[in-house]
Symmetry: C2
Subunit: 270 residues, 2 copies
């Protein structure tokens, strides 16, 4: 018998999305946020941070693939990759599908990684790969490093609270310094339908420091509105250098995802 037991996210004050839950596997108040793992009927295991869906086993591939692959297939030779956030391991999993040399992952909250390792093996198995090096520190400080990267992927929470600095002008300036001319940065930038300010902020911020900036979209059913945006940027070219086909990404999606509905173009022109 199914029990009337639900986890519900408030997508904003007036909209909520709920999933029927089998059990509450994990709950912890870390130094930074509340971490919960639920086992749900339809979406499988779900990681929730401060009451918001981060990943569900059923639809995480859409987000992880679309944050990672457009940048990875556009770089001429991606060897050294920096992941900002990404404590569930999903973005690292996608990046490791290429012959990379090093993957530095800067996740401020080590408890997120511990929870993912314990409950989300399909994502966190990437931490077992010797090329992945984890830094538990604020990414805003990490980017003062002298290291250079080919690709930077910003898999942060939304620009509210401790992740706000990761959408700031100074952060984009510092990220720019870590990349050479062919280097590419890609960031998630929220739902243009629910929070148009997030994509506007990322788009303008990156435009201030990179020659070519490309916003694009994917479906993610458990994120507010199901419409998710990303922005990638480089001083070089954004052209497909190699093929990649996953469960979401493929040859055609690469170009099609950057064809924006008219109302989003208007948001970016404002």
């Amino acid at each position: 018998m199914k029990v009337d037991f639900w986890f519900t996210e408030f997508q904003n004050e007036d909209v909520k999305f709920g999933v029927r839950t089998r059990s509450h596997l994990f709950s912890k108040e870390s130094k930074y946020q509340k971490i919960d793992i639920f086992d749900t009927e339809f979406y499988g295991r779900v990681m929730v941070l401060d009451g918001c869906f981060m990943v569900t086993e059923k639809d995480e591939f859409m987000y992880q693939e679309m944050l990672s692959h457009p940048a990875m297939v556009s770089h001429p030779n991606p060897k050294d990759v920096l992941i900002i956030g990404g404590g569930d391991g999903g973005v690292a999993r996608e990046v490791l599908k290429y012959p990379v040399k090093t993957v530095d992952l800067v996740e401020i909250d080590e408890e997120v990684i511990a929870a993912a390792k314990a409950y989300l093996p399909g994502l966190s198995s990437s931490f077992k790969d010797g090329r992945v090096k984890v830094y538990n520190m604020d990414a805003f400080e990490f980017v003062d490093t002298n290291r250079k990267y080919d690709v930077i992927l910003v898999d942060s929470t939304d620009p509210i609270g401790f992740a706000a600095s990761l959408f700031s002008d100074v952060f984009y300036m510092k990220a720019h310094d870590l990349l050479d001319e062919s280097g590419i940065i890609a960031t998630q930038s929220g739902s243009p339908f629910m929070n148009p300010d997030f994509i506007k902020k990322a788009y303008r911020g990156l435009k201030g420091h990179f020659k070519t900036v490309r916003p694009y979209l994917s479906f993610v059913p458990t994120y507010p509105s199901g419409m998710w945006s990303y922005v990638m940027a480089t001083d070089g070219k954004l052209e497909k250098q190699r093929k990649f086909s996953g469960r979401y990404m493929n040859e055609e999606i690469y170009g099609a995802s950057s064809s924006l509905p008219e109302f989003i173009k208007k948001i970016l022109e404002e």
Copy 2:
């Protein structure tokens, strides 16, 4: 003060989506279904049929535009249009943006039209246009007519209950007879993520009767998963004949919307 008063749709047994409501403007059990109109905080006025979101003022443009315009811009000269369902008037509103001669709208439930006229003027104002002729009858019977159409748009509820016949092989055969070689049919085909069988049924059904069949997608935040599919078909060509730019649709969306994520391609190949 906002009251804790919600309309919630069960997207399936295990997933629900709720919107905070200001007032319940209308409720009626018609011969075919339960019709409700709510005034909601975030989505504006909302029409609900048998507990499912049909249109909300805030996001209806995505669905109406994407059901209508890909077919309308692909036809060499769309003069006579048949709308199946569409009782809220939204698809007719989009079709009337072209220099059409006649729009026949076959909505089985006259109470849906009455409710839309009373509460959703932004959609139902299309019924005031002299070119729109309403037929309150079963579309499965209507398609036995001898009339010919240039474009047929199937804006039905999902293929469950009384709308099931509108996804049947016989229906597609009859629809084919109403179109000449350049004629185009487009149908909504549900969420490929939540109900992959709906798009499979529409795609295969249309393939049995038309030479060219093209599935495509759009975002619709208040529909289950936010990922919605459509299928269009013709014996002629599916090529853009004219430009149309709306709030969602534009030059690039025409082609980009038919680039399918890999998992949907797999669903259609099965």
